[in-house]
């Protein structure tokens, strides 16, 4: 009984909306595009936020990364030729960090080397990183072939190397290269594995992004001096760097920021000239997340305004409809309709209008998102909550903007309404 009554009310509402098809359709269009815009904008925001998260997750949210850096003053001064610049992180820094902070699980030092590397006929300058096996555990990466570096390789100072995908590509080495040797300068290294570069979508910087090969750090230290000659715009520059990077893994995510602060204090003490950088992916993650949220809700607000305009359109039409149907309202009231029944009659119409518009909008929204992705390459993700939110808002708009005209209709004096023409 109750449901059949609702059904009849709905039918009545739909029927009276269909009486003015063009008008109802145009009114609905406001909601369709309002909801569509909301869904599409949330999709853009969500896409941006997921991209930022993925990029930073690739760096490991429990990690802290210290990087050697030539500070700005020195860089300017290095205009004076053939001067050896010594800067950056030391093995001592790594040890100090490991020994000072209980919350630190492990530390991984890395050392960069650039060498011409030969494989068969092929040669290329590779960016080689000397590191420890822990490197491969801090940031998970796919092994394409073979294996990664193990503790025994380090202990035995083995002449082995792990190529990254990019390194393998430079040497035109396929997976059958495993077990064969590449020559780095005068030295031979056995290739034990190929790993996939850890990349973030959209090509953000990751620890692997500029690495072609890994070798044990003790081998690197033994064979290659800390001195590196760099050719830059006609002049030679020599720089001496002990460690290029120190990766610090913290046991518990909760302690990442306090450890980072401690490291920062320690480093200012031992490196007063500031020849290092401390990068905390987690902090960046937080900032990126906050940034993405602001971005998302800004877009949402803009879209919501168009929905508001759609709602005002509905109200406008319903007010006109109430005026047009004043006499009908008078007749219904004279027959015995209660005020609430008149309110319900008009509310059903606006809600049907806005909900239908909302439903179509949830189809239009993802379509707009797809078009945005197609046209601009911006990632978009339509999350379920945005659909529910949009439908909910459109229903609410129907009720909020329909209520005033409906109440106005119900409050008409039946006698006056009956006389209206």
């Amino acid at each position: 009984m109750q449901s059949s009554k609702l059904y009849r009310m709905l039918r009545l509402g739909v029927k009276s909306l269909l009486l003015h098809k063009l008008r109802s359709g145009l009114t609905m269009l406001g909601v369709v595009f309002g909801v569509g815009a909301v869904v599409a904008m949330l999709a853009v925001g969500e896409g941006a936020s997921r991209k930022a998260l993925a990029e930073i997750k690739a760096l490991g949210s429990n990690n802290i990364m210290l990087t050697s850096k030539q500070n700005a003053d020195d860089q300017a001064a290095s205009g004076s030729r053939s001067m050896v610049k010594s800067y950056g992180l030391f093995y001592d820094d790594e040890r100090r960090i490991r020994e000072t902070f209980n919350a630190v699980e492990r530390t991984v030092p890395t050392k960069d080397i650039r060498k011409n590397t030969f494989f068969g006929e092929r040669s290329a300058e590779l960016r080689i990183v000397g590191t420890t096996p822990d490197w491969f555990e801090l940031v998970p990466r796919d092994v394409i072939a073979g294996r990664v570096m193990l503790d025994r390789d380090l202990r035995s100072s083995a002449n082995i190397c792990v190529l990254t995908e990019s390194g393998a590509r430079k040497l035109l080495a396929a997976s059958r290269v495993i077990g064969e040797s590449v020559r780095v300068g005068p030295d031979l290294y056995e290739v034990i594995g190929i790993v996939r570069n850890v990349t973030a979508t959209g090509g953000g910087r990751t620890p692997d992004s500029e690495v072609d090969a890994y070798i044990p750090i003790n081998v690197a230290k033994e064979r290659y001096s800390d001195l590196m000659i760099r050719r830059a715009s006609g002049s030679f520059q020599a720089e001496k760097v002990e460690l290029h990077r120190i990766l610090v893994a913290v046991k518990n995510t909760d302690h990442v920021e306090s450890v980072a602060a401690g490291i920062e204090r320690m480093m200012t003490h031992f490196h007063p000239d500031g020849d290092y950088d401390v990068f905390v992916p987690l902090a960046v993650l937080r900032a990126a997340r906050a940034q993405a949220n602001i971005w998302k809700w800004t877009l949402f607000s803009i879209a919501a305004i168009s929905l508001l305009v759609g709602g005002i359109g509905i109200m406008n039409i319903m007010l006109a409809s109430v005026t047009e149907r004043t006499r009908e309202i008078g007749i219904r009231r004279a027959i015995g309709a209660k005020k609430n029944q008149i309110i319900a009659q008009f509310l059903v119409e606006t809600v049907v209008l806005s909900a239908t518009g909302g439903f179509i909008g949830t189809l239009v929204g993802p379509a707009i998102a797809l078009i945005i992705t197609f046209m601009s390459g911006i990632d978009t993700v339509v999350p379920l909550y945005s659909i529910l939110l949009a439908v909910g808002i459109s229903m609410a708009i129907g009720i909020v903007f329909g209520l005033y005209p409906a109440v106005r209709a119900a409050n008409l004096d039946p006698i006056v309404a009956l006389r209206h023409d």
Binding site: M1, S4, K5, R8, K15, S16, L19, R327, E328, G330, I331, R332, R333, A334, I335, G336, A337, K338, K339, N340, Q341, P414, I415, L418
Partner: protein, 258 residues
């Protein structure tokens, strides 16, 4: 709830829901008395001026009677009918219908009261143009909460009674004035109200169709409906047994057929 029996055979046909508070006890105790007006006044304020549309009306109407209200334009006929129809509230005085003091009812109760006790017939028919004949007749049943199937069927029976059984799916605009007014009569009867109120029901009709409508009202009155009709035409008023003449908001005189 029972189907309103049509044609109504007993003036006291009780289709009243007890929940409206109009007990049948009240009615039987006032045997025959249906409407009682005591010093009824309705004053309109037009700026600083006061218009006494009703200036103290005392009247008693019996069940099953046929009344005509006559009078010059502006004498208060419509105001009287609106108050009787519970569409308007008097400024002072009491109005009892079926023993119920109407002043005690709030807006919702008044709506319910109209729904169960009153049927309206207007000069300009007042059908809803976008609804079909059937849907127009069904309106009171919709608000009474009847199921769709039963109410559609009942609307068909009523349309037959007024001779429009073959026009159920037509819109009012496709009907002549006389036919529209017959639809309006059928609608007024749908909830089987004891009282029918008609404001110049033949005012927009030519004399032959007027005759048809009046014949319909005569028949309904013979079957027990109480009818109160405003008119300014003497020959139309002649159908009623009681003719109330109004002048400046008061009852001038009452003529009765013996």
């Amino acid at each position: 709830m029972t189907d309103p029996p049509f044609p109504t055979t007993t003036p006291n046909a009780d289709s009243t829901d007890p929940s409206t508070g109009i007990g049948s006890d009240t009615r039987s105790s006032n045997n025959g008395l249906l409407i009682e007006l005591t010093d009824l006044r309705k004053t309109y304020h037009m700026g600083t001026q006061q218009v006494h549309a009703l200036a103290g009306v005392d009247l008693q109407l019996g069940r099953g009677e046929f009344w005509a209200i006559l009078g010059a334009s502006g004498s208060g006929k419509s105001t009287m009918l609106n108050v009787l129809g519970c569409l308007d509230r008097p400024t002072s005085g009491t109005y009892r219908l079926e023993g119920q003091d109407v002043a005690e009812l709030d807006d919702d109760a008044l709506s319910e009261f109209r729904l169960r006790h009153l049927g309206f017939i207007f000069q300009s028919f007042n059908l809803i143009p976008q609804l079909t004949v059937r849907e127009n007749i069904e309106l009171p049943l919709y608000y009474l909460g009847w199921e769709a199937e039963r109410s559609a069927e009942h609307a068909g029976v009523l349309a037959d009674q007024v001779g429009l059984g073959d026009r159920l799916d037509h819109r009012p605009s496709e009907l002549s004035g006389g036919q529209q007014q017959r639809v309006a009569v059928a609608r007024a009867l749908a909830n089987d109200p004891p009282v029918l109120l008609a404001d110049e029901p033949t005012g927009n009709l030519d004399s032959s169709t007027s005759g048809q409508i009046m014949a319909l009202l005569d028949e309904l009155n013979q079957r027990g409906k109480t009818i109160i009709m405003v008119t300014h035409e003497r020959d139309i008023a002649a159908h009623a047994q009681h003719r109330l003449h109004m002048r400046d908001g008061i009852i001038d005189r009452i003529e009765r057929d013996v």
